[in-house]
């Protein structure tokens, strides 16, 4: 195993983080399962028991990951453009926060423009209007013709009526 010059060193930090998260998740499940009644019925196995098994399995996998972090050669990760990812995720966050107040069209236009920005179209003054036209069209088709209920705001009332 040794003798190769890999760009990443052991222990594999990512695998350790995964181990920590799995252990935490498993712990939460065990804690939650402990408060359920042990009503196994005829089966002798109730809802708490199955949850407990999965909790133990997650703890086991956490241990396995921790061991692997020290023993396996970490895989080479693809290089990531973090700001780009944050733009796209930020677009989604903006949509979630604004959806109720400004309606589907404007909130979704922001998601559209921020995503385009994440993929390299930087000019928001151009992409936001494109996004508004696009999401308004989506709104008209899906809320108007396909009867999907979408949150409406000022723009929607202006174009579609109530």
């Amino acid at each position: 195993m040794s003798g190769y010059n890999y760009p990443q060193r052991r222990p594999d930090g990512a695998a350790l983080v995964v181990a920590g998260l799995l252990a935490a998740f498993g712990g939460v499940i065990l804690w939650d399962a402990a408060r359920l009644h042990a009503s196994g019925g005829y089966a002798g196995v109730g809802p708490g028991d199955v949850a407990r098994w999965i909790g133990y399995a997650l703890l086991g996998l956490a241990l396995w990951s921790a061991v692997a972090a020290f023993r396996e050669t970490p895989m080479r990760l693809p290089r990531q453009d973090v700001p780009a990812v944050l733009w796209v995720a930020g677009g989604l966050l903006a949509q979630i926060l604004l959806l109720k107040t400004v309606g589907f069209t404007i909130a979704t236009a922001l998601l559209f423009a921020f995503t385009a920005r994440g993929f390299g179209k930087r000019n928001l003054a151009m992409t936001i209007p494109v996004g508004i036209v696009f999401s308004l069209a989506v709104y008209v088709v899906f809320a108007g013709f396909l009867k999907l209920t979408l949150p409406s705001g000022l723009l929607e009332h202006l174009f579609v009526g109530k």
């Binding site: 998740f25 499940i29 005829y42 949850a51 693809p78 973090v82 796209v88 995503t115 993929f119």
Partner: protein, 505 residues
């Protein structure tokens, strides 16, 4: 020959103009998402689930199946012209197909892929129709323990038998199983992992998780990798018609691909990819032109493309007859059935025979539509590949959130979408497979129910789980599927397995 008369009835039902329209929409959408790299049929069906909620169940399911078939056709176009597989079952097609396109033989490559897909889809759908009644008869004898064992086998093959690492596959699977715990227990009505948040009592929606993992995760990932790949679309030069020699070399490969792909899809062996790899290997060994392999051998396109369509049809055998999804798309389709209050399985053939048979018959019709869409209209699809990525992914994000907003515009649901999307992204970056999470979420509660039923029947005696020959055999298979690949990997023979990694479709 009862299957034949059922199929004939199905065909006459499927000739209904509305159903034909649904099938047409399905295959068109399917081809489009198959062509576009980064989005596949699993995601598309997940996106459409909320939209079709109030519509006709038969029509919607026909549309979903059309998307599945169409995705298999469309993926080959991208593989051949762009060298980037449109969906994971077309990775192999890129090997020889792109070489053919570079040599100016893109037309025949597209043609052999489309005709091969047609022939394989036709034979495999007929095989589905004739096999289904027999499988249903066998399945009626299945008890809860047999179902539980079958699901264990599916869990293992989907998560850890293929791919880089059993550990990562199992982690993905157990995350899915753990997420499946959230909500009200189906047998006792107790709430698990809901922490007093009322929205969590309903559990985690399959569609939310699937859209987040497949669509958002992929969009984040492509945004993150933006700088690294730029592929050129190769224009189709010359005629799309195949020469007599192309036909002579293709037809055997089509048939072999079908024979290999169908059973692989039908077995709980995870994904259509495996059939394509095996078919490619078979063609390489049997060809009379070994020197052309790696430089654009037509058999290397014809066989795997036939195999992936045949396994798409094969996947429907366990889905319809046992209610057991063996691929991510099938898992989402199962969620589609459940949305309409239908539970696939042997009883479905008794309670709604009309729906099942018109679905199967529609697949035959959809297959013909796909041949028409993909041969004469190929130029139209190629143009899809020229949409600039910023607009494409901005649109994908809008549609991805649209489904959730339409179904349940609560901030909790949308926040889950964002969190699972980021989780899907990080899992992609670190090489954890996505499909096991979704399969775990869907199959987890079903497996738990069967397990507890089996134990209730035996009054808590655990040995009952290996008490029937079938369940014992299935559990042994599951154990082998877990252990054998781990030994292979330890001995440094893991490369083959990681190539077979089932990712999405």
């Amino acid at each position: 020959m009862e299957a034949l008369s059922f199929l004939m009835q199905g065909l006459s039902a499927a000739m209904d103009p509305m159903l034909l329209l649904y099938a047409l929409i399905g295959v068109t959408l399917g081809t489009a998402v198959g062509v576009l790299p980064g989005i596949g049929p699993a995601l598309t069906v997940a996106l459409l689930l909320p939209v079709t909620y109030g519509h006709d169940p038969a029509g919607s399911l026909i549309m979903f199946a059309g998307i599945y078939y169409g995705g298999m056709y469309g993926g080959s176009t991208t593989s051949i012209l762009l060298n980037t597989p449109g969906e994971s079952a077309s990775i192999i097609t890129a090997l020889e197909g792109n070489k053919m396109a570079r040599a100016g033989r893109g037309g025949p490559a597209l043609a052999t892929a489309a005709i091969g897909s047609f022939i394989a889809g036709l034979i495999a759908t007929l095989a589905l129709a004739f096999m289904a009644p027999y499988v249903v008869k066998i399945a009626l004898a299945f008890g809860p323990r047999d179902y539980f064992a079958l699901m264990c086998l599916a869990f293992i093959t989907v998560s850890s038998a293929f791919g880089d690492s059993a550990r990562k596959g199992l982690i993905s699977l157990f995350i899915g199983l753990a997420l499946a715990l959230v909500g009200i227990d189906q047998l006792t009505g107790q709430a698990r992992l809901s922490f007093g948040v009322p929205q969590l009592l309903d559990g985690i929606e399959v569609t939310t998780l699937a859209v987040a993992m497949f669509a958002l995760g992929e969009a984040f990932f492509v945004a993150g990798c933006r700088a690294t790949n730029d592929e050129q679309v190769i224009a189709v030069k010359g005629s799309v018609w195949m020469t007599a020699q192309d036909w002579a070399r293709s037809w055997k490969a089509w048939l072999r691909g079908t024979v290999i792909g169908f059973p692989i899809g039908a077995l709980p062996a995870g994904g259509a990819e495996i059939g394509t790899f095996l078919s490619y290997a078979a063609e390489k060994r049997l060809t009379k032109h070994p020197e052309e392999f790696g430089k654009g051998a037509i058999e290397g396109v014809a066989g795997p493309e036939a195999a992936n369509n045949a396994s798409a049809a094969g996947t429907l055998v366990p889905l319809l007859t046992l209610g057991l999804p063996t691929s991510a798309t099938a898992a989402i389709m199962l969620a589609g059935f459940q949305q309409f209050g239908l539970q696939p399985g042997p009883l479905l053939f008794v309670t709604s025979p009309q729906l099942v048979w018109s679905l199967i018959a529609s697949l035959l019709i959809a297959n013909v539509m796909l041949l028409v869409l993909n041969l004469p209209l190929i130029g139209l699809w190629v143009r899809l590949l020229t949409i600039p990525k910023p607009w494409l992914y901005a649109g994908i994000m809008v549609f991805a959130t649209l489904g959730t907003i339409g179904a349940n515009p609560s901030p909790v649901e949308l926040t889950m979408l964002l969190i699972f999307g980021l989780m899907g992204y990080l899992m992609r970056v670190h090489g954890y497979p996505i499909a096991p999470v979704v399969v775990g979420l869907i199959l987890g509660p079903m497996a738990e129910q069967q397990l507890r039923r089996a134990l209730a029947i035996s009054q808590g005696d655990v040995t009952t789980l290996v008490g029937s020959p079938l369940s014992a055999t299935l559990l042994v298979c599951a154990a082998l599927a877990l252990i054998v690949p781990m030994i292979l990997r330890m001995r440094g023979r893991g490369q083959v397995l990681s190539q077979l990694a089932a990712d999405e479709d």
